[in-house]
């Protein structure tokens, strides 16, 4: 009657999609297993807390030190300086200090705990498709040479590099962080002070954090100086007054310059729509050739600032709290085959500016 060629296909051979409501007939595991969430099998070097809601880099860096310094300095300020200044100046001082302190802590936690814009690794099908498009020799006995793809962005030729760990061509401005072993979109730098990468999704939090921290340290520094000045006038002399709050003064004095410097640097980056990574590498400075300008800049400071800080918040591309399909194996095989490449030194922008190093050195000497 008809020439249809229908073959009975064995349902056990089919991959079961995640949202299929019918039960899989060949269950190797008879007992019901609690479904695992995707963060539990995440291939990058990240740590997850609160069942996947919070994420950080695996090595938290000096994040506890950052929190500790802020807490100690602010506590000393509230305990020693505020009572004196409220009595002699105005009641607004602890209020302003309190608002700044809360602001700083909230933005710090948001920078540290948010997904910076991690790109999930390519699925095996995708990776195979990309390999097929570039591989013409068919030789699989050695690692192929680094692959690049050229694209035209705003009339400028940009080279996209192939990431061997994530098995995909990195989108423009994306870099692979070797500390976190993830490709991060609009990668700025990996900040040990916040214990996370700074990328597309958390750059605005990071910028707000350092700007508000500059205000906080400058404010505390100003208050402490005023307090000392008023006490010194009181009669006992400057030296005696200094002995009463040395720790606070020292921390603030050294922090103010480096944090202010860092804020200034990042304000420049925001205004020119650059990342720390690009600035350090000199991608658009014209060193490599003439006529090379930043293709992402809108050539207008206000529009650049808006597009970096006020653009709609992009979603997290790694579905941390989604459930794994019951029969899908974990994507941890990548870690075995491709160890993280340690020669990506130009991507390991661990400190975005040398000011970070100055701060570490001076604080270490203080102790």
């Amino acid at each position: 009657m008809n020439s249809r060629d229908y073959q009975q296909i064995d349902p056990q051979a089919l991959p079961t999609p995640a949202h299929s409501p019918l039960p899989h007939p060949a269950d190797r595991r008879q007992e019901p297993r609690t479904p695992r969430r995707k963060w539990e099998v995440f291939p990058g070097k990240n740590r997850f807390f609160c069942d996947g809601r919070i994420m950080m880099a695996r090595g938290c860096g000096v994040f506890p030190l950052t929190v500790g310094l802020i807490l100690v300095t602010s506590t000393l300020f509230f305990i020693f300086d505020c009572p004196f200044l409220v009595k002699h100046l105005t009641r607004c001082i602890p209020a302003i200090g309190g608002v700044l302190f809360v602001f700083v802590l909230i933005t710090l936690f948001q920078t540290s705990f948010t997904d910076p814009g991690i790109l999930p690794r390519a699925t095996p099908d995708e990776a195979a498709d990309v390999e097929r498009q570039i591989d013409d020799t068919g030789n699989t006995s050695y690692r192929p040479p680094p692959r690049t793809k050229e694209v035209l962005i705003n009339q400028q030729v940009i080279k996209l590099k192939y990431c061997f760990t994530c098995k995909m061509f990195r989108p423009p401005r994306t870099s692979h962080c070797s500390l976190c072993d993830n490709c991060v979109e609009r990668f700025d730098h990996h900040c040990p002070w916040v214990g996370n990468c700074v990328g597309k999704r958390n750059y605005r939090f990071f910028y707000t954090f350092i700007v508000s921290l500059s205000f906080l340290t400058a404010f505390i520094f100003g208050c402490v100086t005023t307090h000392l000045a008023l006490r010194a006038q009181g009669g006992k002399g400057l030296v005696f007054a200094l002995q009463e709050s040395p720790v606070e003064l020292a921390i603030c004095f050294f922090s103010v310059w480096s944090i202010l410097g860092l804020s200034g640097f990042h304000t420049y980056l925001v205004a020119s729509n650059l990342t720390t990574n690009e600035d350090i590498k000199g991608s658009w400075s014209g060193k490599s050739g003439d006529g090379v300008t930043n293709p992402y800049s809108q050539k207008n400071i206000f529009i650049n600032c808006c597009s970096v800080l006020c653009a709609p918040m992009p979603p997290s591309l790694i579905d941390r709290r989604g459930f794994l399909p019951p029969n899908e194996s974990a994507q941890t095989s990548d870690a075995d085959i491709e160890p993280p490449r340690l020669n990506h030194k130009n991507e390991m922008n661990v400190v975005g500016a040398s000011l970070h190093l100055v701060l570490i050195v001076t604080l270490t000497n203080l102790k």
Partner: protein, 143 residues
């Protein structure tokens, strides 16, 4: 003898023949746009106009999600003033558009792609890198 199969039936009865990946188009920068070039593997399955229409609509939706409008500027400023805590309570503009996109893709799958033995995967499930189109073997279809 049904001429069209529902998505569920298809997944259980037919095997995956091939997958086509529509890559991102970076000519206008890092905005999420996909290439509208018609892949050769789909030539026998769907006509070019229909395919380009789908991709173009998706591109427009993503452009709408990422657009820098006065509304997004005001939202950004307000969010900054509240130390971005509003992001924890409210659904962002981008997420609202992503829901629209998911609905559009489901609608396209039901009306256009499933009857032809194809399936569009929402790009958000692939990290906004590719649009994955799965081609199913159409031995059970009478053509």
């Amino acid at each position: 003898m049904a001429e069209t199969h529902s998505l569920q039936d298809m997944r259980q009865q037919v095997a995956v023949a091939a997958k086509v990946f529509i890559q991102r188009d970076y000519t206008n920068g890092t905005m999420c746009q996909f290439q509208t070039k018609f892949p050769s593997d789909l030539e026998t399955k769907i006509d070019k106009q229909q395919f380009e229409e789908t991709i173009r609509t998706l591109n427009n939706l993503y452009a709408e999600a990422e657009k820098l409008s006065s509304q997004s500027f005001i939202e950004g400023c307000l969010a900054c003033l509240t130390a971005y805590t509003v992001f924890l309570c409210m659904e962002t503009h981008y997420e609202k558009v992503l829901k629209k996109i998911a609905k559009y893709i489901q609608e396209q799958n039901e009306k256009v792609y499933a009857p032809r033995g194809l399936l569009l995967t929402d790009p958000i499930e692939r990290g906004l890198r590719v649009i994955e189109i799965t081609i199913y073997e159409d031995r059970s279809f009478s053509r």
